[in-house]
């Protein structure tokens, strides 16, 4: 009885083995295809790996170039501000001189009108005084020149306001540099995993990445008043009238 049972088990196992071999025959071509595919893929992966290494080693150069752009625009903006200051100062000087001139002319007009009164019997003298000494248009011209100077001053101020774009773009570029640095770190760790070797550093390239708190990635040069209006609303809701004691404390000089 035991002998029969054991033989049945052996035949069953042989049957399983046969099924396994049949299955193996079917799977071997598939396995061969996978091996062929892997053989084809390895050079591709090596290429990818090399590309990642190359790209990663170039990233510091890109970051340095971005930093250079920020520095260059800062220097250029400072130069523009120097020129704007000089123009502003000259314009102010011209305005002051024109206003002095206008005052002098007004005084002279006053003298002339008194002079005219004193010679009112002499019509020819009156005519000469009124038409030849100080023509009426001189005063008007001066007023118009002062107005033009004011316009130039406003234009100069608008240039200054527009130069705030340098700070805003500098923050955007810092944000880009931060992203680049993050990508480089990820790629470097990928290269480490694939190759077990570190990415070669490009000689003579050292770049600084700004702390994440030192720039606003959402900085925008936007002249619409939406954000300022929101700020005004929130500030106005918050403001409370302080006590006199607080006022005195605030501005008391030591």
């Amino acid at each position: 009885m035991d002998y029969t049972s054991n033989m049945e088990k052996v035949f069953q196992k042989l049957g399983d083995l046969k099924s396994f071999f049949i299955y193996g025959q079917k799977i071997v071509p598939v396995m061969q295809k996978i091996v062929d595919f892997m053989q084809d893929t390895v050079p591709l992966l090596e290429n990818v790996n090399q590309s990642i290494q190359d790209s990663t080693s170039k990233i510091p150069k890109a970051a340095v170039q971005i930093n250079n752009v920020t520095s260059a625009t800062e220097v250029a903006t400072t130069e523009i501000l120097d020129i704007v200051d000089a123009i502003s100062s000259d314009v102010q000087t011209i305005k002051t001189k024109l206003e002095l001139l206008k005052n002098k002319i007004d005084k002279q007009k006053d003298i002339i009108s008194r002079l005219t009164l004193s010679v009112k019997e002499n019509k020819i003298a009156c005519e000469i005084i009124n038409n030849e000494l100080i023509p009426e248009f001189v005063g008007d011209e001066l007023v118009s020149m002062v107005n033009m100077i004011d316009k130039i001053h406003d234009g100069v101020m608008n240039i200054t306001i527009s130069l705030q774009v340098q700070d805003i773009t500098a923050q955007q570029l810092s944000s880009v540099n931060h992203l680049i640095h993050a990508v480089q770190e990820k790629l470097s760790s990928l290269v480490m995993d694939l190759n077990n070797k570190e990415v070669k550093e490009v000689p003579d390239i050292a770049y600084q990445v700004a702390e994440s708190g030192s720039f606003n990635p959402d900085a925008r040069y936007n002249k619409d008043k939406e954000s300022q209006t929101l700020a005004d609303t929130l500030v106005n809701n918050q403001i409370k009238k302080p006590s006199q004691e607080e006022i005195d404390k605030l501005f008391s000089k030591p």
Binding site: T160, Q164, A170, N216, Q228, A231, L234
Partner: protein, 126 residues
């Protein structure tokens, strides 16, 4: 009342623009600091400073940290603070107000806005 401003910004350009704007609206007295740490040093040395204009995003000690440090200080904790920043989101403004800034300007700004905010602060305290 004569105001002496401390302009705090890591950007040379912005410090210059704020200073120019202050001159345009008739305020000639100011000193500068390039981050929060330097600002705190200047405040502790120069007791004549009675108004702070600060940026938010700066290295080392940020504008918000500066505001909190000023408010926690017994000697100059009550000094008026105007924040001038690119951060215009509601949560940013509320965070700054919670830290007790007196007023808030979103860049880019004009000298007129600067004047308006300074006058608002001065009138709200006297």
């Amino acid at each position: 009342m004569a105001l002496k401003f401390l302009i705090v910004d890591d950007s040379v350009t912005m410090r210059r623009i704020v200073a120019n704007s202050l001159k345009t609206i008739g305020h000639e007295e100011f000193i500068e600091a390039s981050d929060g740490r330097e600002a705190l040093q200047k405040l502790s040395i120069d007791e004549s400073i009675n108004f702070v204009i600060t940026d938010w995003n700066m290295p080392d000690v940020s504008g918000l940290e500066l505001v909190k440090s000023i408010r926690a200080n017994q000697n100059f904790g009550k000094i008026p603070i105007l924040m001038v920043t690119t951060r215009g989101l509601k949560e940013d403004i509320l965070e700054a107000l919670q830290a007790k800034v007196n007023n808030y300007i979103v860049k880019p700004f004009t000298p007129q806005i600067l004047r308006e905010k300074i006058e608002q602060i001065v009138s709200s305290v006297g």
